[in-house]
């Protein structure tokens, strides 16, 4: 299980998107770490900044977005503003990505073999039969037949493509993998099979992972710790058991209550409210416009993080 070694640290990350109508604050002072062998889930609604954080870790925030502050350390090395050449050495060997769109993540006109091999040969001196055997082994590890080696992406189903992506990501045994909603485009049965594959591979290799998602059920099944984001801010972080048992932040509670169940019928909880314009955040708590427990103190200054249980932090003035 997880050791205490922090393989990834995100310190005070600020990312802005510079639009003609003002800067959109997509990530505001985000602090996050991942310990060795741990899966951290990053959850929130669409547009809450979870993908921005992931892209920042990958150093792939594209214009008009820019990291305006903070550091991202992989095994202690800060990679923010690292020169392109240095960054390339870290990519894939230490920092891999399992992308979201299973349908479009593979180049449609290049064979699977080449797409799997180029990631390896860009960083390691493996060639010829050794290289082929390595790819075969990776395919086996994710439960794909060796035939896939010579196929084009359009000949594979969505689940198979996503497993190819998983095989690619673990090829160089990276320190940390960013999984961007790795199963969201798949049917529920296939989603489960792919999620199992992902967990198997993770257990076997002991790799650390950040798993982005919006499906709290899937998070409960897969991750060790959960980080909840709202409107560019981290609002609660904690071990998955603790979070589900006792969600402290009203927003986390909302997310958990909103999961529909097949076990029991429950009355629908209706909430409504608009997220503020990210160009123009309010003073105080980011959740004040939608919070059912909002009070004057929330409008004054942003709440500080407070520890509620071991490893479980929340930013809310209630506590």
């Amino acid at each position: 299980m997880a050791s205490d070694q922090k393989v990834l640290e995100v310190n005070d990350l600020n990312v802005h998107y510079f639009t003609p109508r003002g800067a959109v604050i997509a990530a505001n002072a985000v602090n996050l770490y991942v310990k060795e062998g741990e899966i951290v889930g990053l959850v929130g609604e669409s547009g809450c900044g979870k993908t921005t954080v992931a892209m920042s870790i990958l150093q792939m925030v594209s214009a008009p977005g820019r990291i305006v502050g903070g550091e991202i350390k992989i095994e202690g090395q800060n990679i923010v503003n690292l020169p392109e050449k240095e960054l390339r050495k870290i990519r894939w060997r230490k920092l891999a990505l399992i992308p979201q769109g299973a349908m479009n993540s593979l180049n449609p006109v290049i064979k699977i073999r080449e797409q799997m091999e180029d990631g390896i040969t860009a960083h390691e001196k493996v060639r010829g039969v050794a290289l082929r055997d390595k790819v075969f082994k990776l395919l086996n590890d994710v439960g794909l037949p060796e035939r896939v080696y010579n196929m084009f992406p359009h000949e594979l189903s969505g689940g198979m493509k996503q497993r190819v992506c998983i095989a690619m990501a673990v090829a160089l045994n990276p320190v940390i993998i960013i999984a961007d909603e790795p199963t969201s485009a798949l049917d529920v049965v296939v989603q489960r099979v792919v999620a199992q594959t992902l967990l198997d591979v993770k257990t076997r290799l002991g790799v650390s992972m950040i798993m982005i998602g919006h499906d709290m059920g899937l998070q409960a099944q897969m991750v060790d710790r959960v980080a909840v984001m709202y409107a560019g801010n981290l609002v609660e972080v904690g071990p998955v058991g603790s979070i589900f048992e006792h969600p402290y932040h009203p927003y986390t509670r909302l997310l958990i209550d909103a999961i529909p169940s097949t076990k029991q019928k429950k009355s629908l909880k209706v909430t409504e409210g608009l997220t503020h314009d990210l160009r123009n955040p309010p003073r105080g708590c980011c959740f004040q416009f939608r919070c059912p427990f909002v009070r004057d103190a929330c409008r004054e200054k942003p709440p500080a993080f407070k520890q509620m249980a071991p490893d479980h932090f929340v930013a809310c003035v209630q506590y």
């Binding site: 037949p145 909880k269 209706v270």
Partner: protein, 324 residues
């Protein structure tokens, strides 16, 4: 006997495979039957994964496509042979809301365009004030005010507002049936409840039935009365939604429900499901049970003919040889 508002009778839809076509014929929907009655408003769920034929069914019921065989009847009248006036009434009584609440807005117009279109083409109002009143009433049902939204452009609204406006638009026509094609799968979790709640309200207070098309069994469980589970165009299990989800009989439906991640870290998946190799999955038998290649409990008899529906309990039928 009461005439159903919509009666789908043995509807089959086959794509491709025509003369000079290179693609093989693909059976999107296979002998589907369904009746929805006006007297008791119900939410009927059509559940299935991608490729199950659920969207094909929605398009058939809405008259966007015609069945290859079988019939879609609106109050005893075949949808494919309607006169203009009959079609107008059918359009008025059978409405729809769609998955992506942004897509259904023409970015060129303000939100009011959506309502004006309906008022004009169904002659709902004699004058401007009357129309204004109708729109305002419809918006109130979904908890919105005209002054807040009508003069805005669609991109200025939230996802929840956009979807509620679509419901209001449909409601304005006082339809008897609303086809809701994945109405909540593109909205965030916290807004999902609101849309589902409105659907329940419309059923209970305004007696509007819903054909709720979804891949998500859990929301179906929360709101629907009746349910049809589709697999590759065929109906594998049908009946009371609660009974099916609480006690699924068909191996496919069992697998489906078993795969839904449980939102409780203490109840992790403990079994592994394995899918057969891809070539087996892609194999499609056109006779017999479509689930045969993937089924752990398959028998020789399964490939011979599609199983008859067996009643396993009251209001719960399954098409599987295990129960015959």
């Amino acid at each position: 006997m009461e005439q159903p508002i919509i009666s789908v009778q043995d509807a089959t839809k086959i794509y491709g495979g025509g003369f000079l076509s290179t693609s093989k014929p693909f059976v999107a929907l296979d002998r589907f039957s369904l009746d929805i009655y006006e007297s008791q408003a119900k939410i009927v769920t059509i559940a299935g994964e991608s490729g199950s034929g659920k969207t094909t069914l929605a398009n058939l019921v809405l008259g966007f496509i015609l069945p290859s065989s079988g019939k879609i009847m609106y109050k005893g009248q075949d949808v494919s042979t309607m006169t203009r006036e009959q079609r107008r009434i059918y359009r008025k009584e059978v409405q729809a809301i769609f998955q992506d609440p942004y897509e259904v807005y023409n970015p060129f117009y303000r939100v009011s365009h959506i309502f004006n279109m309906v008022v004009r083409h169904f002659n709902l109002a004699q004058n401007k004030n009357e129309a204004q009143q109708l729109i305002e009433d419809a918006l109130n049902v979904v908890g919105l005010r005209g002054s807040e939204i009508l003069e805005k452009y669609p991109h200025q609204l939230s996802g929840g507002q956009r979807q509620r406006i679509m419901v209001a638009r449909a409601y304005m026509l006082r339809p008897r049936l609303i086809v809701a094609d994945e109405p909540v799968s593109a909205v965030d979790a916290s807004l999902r409840a609101m849309i589902l709640d409105i659907m329940l309200k419309l059923r209970d207070r305004h007696h509007i039935s819903f054909l709720y098309i979804t891949h998500d069994l859990s929301t179906a469980y929360q709101i629907s009365d009746k349910m049809y589970v589709l697999f590759q165009g065929t109906t594998v299990e049908r009946g009371n939604a609660g009974k099916i989800i609480e006690n699924p009989r068909h191996p496919y439906v069992q697998e489906l429900i078993d795969s839904i991640p449980v939102p409780d870290p203490k109840m992790k998946w403990n079994t592994n499901i394995t899918l057969p190799p891809e070539e087996v999955m892609r194999m499609k038998s056109s006779v017999g049970c479509r689930f045969y290649p993937r089924c752990a409990k398959h028998m020789d008899i399964c490939t011979r003919a599609f199983p008859e529906y067996t009643q396993v309990e009251e209001d719960h039928e399954v098409a599987c040889y295990l129960y015959q």
